[in-house]
Amino acid sequence: MPSICFYFQVHQPYRIKKYRIFDVGHDHEYFNDKSDTDINNEKILHKVAKKCYLPTNALLLELLNKHPEFKISFSFSGVLLDQLEEFSPETLTSFQKLVKTGRVEILDETYYHSLAFLYSKDEFVRQVELHRAKVKKLFGVTPTVFRHTELVYNNELAKMVEGMGYKAILAEGWDNILGWRSPNFVYQSPSTTTIKTLLKNYRLSDDIAFRFSSQSWSGWPLTSEKFAQWVNSVNGNGQVVNLFMDYETFGEHQWEHTGIFDFMRALPGELLKHPDNDFITPSEEAARYPVVGEFDAHDFVSWADVERDLSAWRSNAMQHEALHNIFSLETEVLASGDKKLIEDWRKLQTSDHFYYMCTKYFADGDVHKYFNPYDTPYEAFIAYNNVLHDLKWRLAEVAKNKPSTKKPSVPKALKTKVSLKKAVPKKPATKKVPKKKSPSKSKTD
């Protein structure tokens, strides 16, 4: 029985260059590092495209051609799509080619891979709209399934996303919420009525994403036969197997020499050997399978770290301060009408910036260190904080250049009139809301 659902997250942030307090007021380009370090976004994108995106896309296209039953899904952050357009159009083309097969589904997320939902529902909605428009423009499709940044999820989010018209939302199938129950069924949040919650089978997903090359793991070496057997054993006690992971698993987190490509090349064939297995996309999963139970997430759950909570982005005082500071600028930034400033402000919301400031396990040199392009969480914070100073400097400049009569009244008026009122009617206004919103969007742009 199990229907296998592959979903790959494709994302690269705009990393902040080494930005000192002395640069404030002089240098407004925060993301243009050209050094040989890992904060050079162009360099990283080329590296990842070469090691992961291009070869894996070629492999998946080959598999889609070979197995008519094979299906996959992707979610691209908007900032990744921007970087593909700027630095590696051929990679974008190869993704578009995959989508054209008709068996590759695209999901929606926030354009800036942000945690805006935690701080500003209005900004969250705007970023989802921007993402939807970008996907439509580049791929010609409109997603009906939503995945939130780093699979951060709670009941409130499910309800909000339901109101925006999505049919399903992804979440981590975390034991603390599921208890004895299996992630291999479709669930629903108690706060919603139509939207379904699709749960990541984190054991099987992480066998590929994290443990594949770990020689100390009892499952090593992982072959496609072995993995297919594990999936087959779900037969009789599950309807779906959701394999959700970072796309960079292939070739970037697990390097080519680990055999990850050979594993993936053989996997669909192995899985199809069992007559009851098939492949589905998230929207098909939501349409085909009934809800078997409640997935009741009062607190936030995510797919990060062993804690599966928000602590990767929000546990120390630096992270709290940085998040508070960036979102407290919302009204002023949007009121500035300065397109570049608004875009920079949004790029600074990308969750990775706060991840880099994380001090959990920092001393142990674990994945946080591996994924951190800065020497320490402190350097990450200092660069970010200095950039915020510059952003404020620019805001002050904009205010200075505006007609003086407007200065005192504009921000206050906006705070009460525009953003708050806009938010209230939007949420209950259910499904067609996203389209109605486009006028407000063009205003902020």
Partner: protein, 397 residues
């Protein structure tokens, strides 16, 4: 064990280190006889037998000498000119070293021992002489090298004494990898003979209830940036002043406090005045104990811009008091600390950027302070003593 200073009569980190190490060793059932070159009052410690080099067959011995660990030849000449005649023991610093060596011979004959452990170059000769008498293995413990003290312009005599000690020894203990690298590179000692034993810190001393000092300044919204150390070329006080100037351009509410004394004191005072920041740089003099802990607590940040710092105990002391630190990458402590800011001592802009970030961001300040104070918990003297014990056992075998 041969040393030369011991609390409460220490003028720097060396006495603190000898105290912490010997106390932890005695807890680990290692019997230490500690030899000091001169008689000092108030130095009795329950855990340790202390021998003063110039009085034989008496438990407490004293010798009148001018030896102290941070002296250099020029300063010594200065002392000779100014000290009353009857207090002089030898003719020069180097005579003192020789004399200490001669006395060590006698002590080595009288005091039963299995290994000889000599701290710092002034006692190396004593260690060598003791070994000649007893034939027991010699360990020389390098807390600093002449390259650190002179910021790269070593005194040839001191260098020779250090080198001889290191080559005569069966094992060289370096207080950091930073120091080990210097020993291997500049003293030609085989790498496998040099073992790194990082210093520790006695947390209880710093975790007591110390009220922060300077409440009146703090309530004015001033941000205090603290330097603690000898005002000498090794510690980079001139870089501290340069950084102060850069920080003050951006935040006039910063106040820079220098605690310590040393041969560059007047030069640094003049330098601050010439830069026009004389009113923002305060000289607190040499401060110790409770008062020093209060100063650490009063500070928003501790900065150690040492040009070459073998270890840097003051950085650990600041952290133990919950104060965020910025240390130079050219320091031993930077090897063992995770939650500390690090810069090259010459990179004024980088240091200024980091100081400004800490004094202006509560989030950064609190994270560094909180995690930093936990960071020092694993740096114990017990751990250092454990490594020494292993070395002793290896050598005795």
């Amino acid at each position: 064990m041969f040393g030369w200073e011991f609390p409460p009569h220490n003028s720097g980190g060396l006495g603190t280190a000898c105290y912490g190490l010997t106390r932890a060793l005695s807890s680990a059932k290692v019997h230490v006889t500690f030899v000091l070159p001169k008689k000092l009052d108030g130095i009795a410690h329950g855990f340790l037998r202390i021998v003063f080099a110039n009085i034989r067959n008496v438990k407490m011995r004293s010798v009148q000498t001018l030896l102290h660990p941070y002296i250099n030849a020029e300063l010594y000449d200065e002392y000779l000119r100014t000290m009353p005649e009857n207090k002089l023991y030898g003719l020069s610093l180097f005579d003192e070293v020789r004399r200490y060596g001669l006395q060590a011979k006698t002590i080595a004959m009288e005091e039963p021992h299995d290994v000889i452990h000599a701290h710092e170059w002034l006692s190396f000769r004593a260690g060598i002489e003791a070994k000649r008498v007893s034939g027991k293995p010699l360990i020389v413990h390098v807390h600093a090298t002449e390259f650190d003290r002179s910021a790269g312009n070593p005194n040839q005599y001191v260098y020779e004494e250090e080198r001889k000690g290191m080559h005569a020894a069966d094992c060289v203990i370096a207080v950091s990898q930073h120091t080990k690298n210097i020993i291997v590179e500049h003293y030609g000692v085989a790498s496998e003979k040099v073992i790194v034993v990082h210093n520790g810190i006695d947390l209880d001393q710093h975790r007591a209830h110390h009220l922060p000092a300077l409440a009146h300044i703090r309530t004015q919204g001033k941000k205090i940036v603290l330097f603690v150390g000898r005002i000498t070329i090794q510690k980079g006080p001139d870089y501290f002043i340069k950084v102060a100037q850069r920080v003050l351009e951006y935040n006039p509410d910063a106040l820079f406090i220098i605690s310590g004394s040393g041969d560059m004191e007047y030069q640094i005072i003049r330098m601050a005045a010439n830069m026009g920041i004389g009113d923002k740089v305060v000289f607190a003099g040499f401060v110790r104990g409770e008062e020093l802990n209060q100063l650490y607590r009063a500070a928003d940040m501790f900065v150690m811009p040492s040009v070459s710092e073998p270890f840097g105990l003051t950085a650990l002391e600041a952290l133990a008091n919950g104060t965020p630190i910025l240390v130079s990458k050219q320091s031993g402590v930077s090897e063992v600390l995770t939650h500390a800011l690090k810069s090259d001592f010459w990179d004024i802009d980088d240091m200024a950027d980091k100081i400004l970030s800490v004094i202006e961001s509560k989030g950064l300040h609190d994270t560094l302070g909180e995690l930093g104070s936990r960071d020092v918990e694993h740096l114990t003297w017990e751990s250092a003593a454990g490594k020494c014990t292993t070395i002793y056992k290896e050598l005795i075998r």
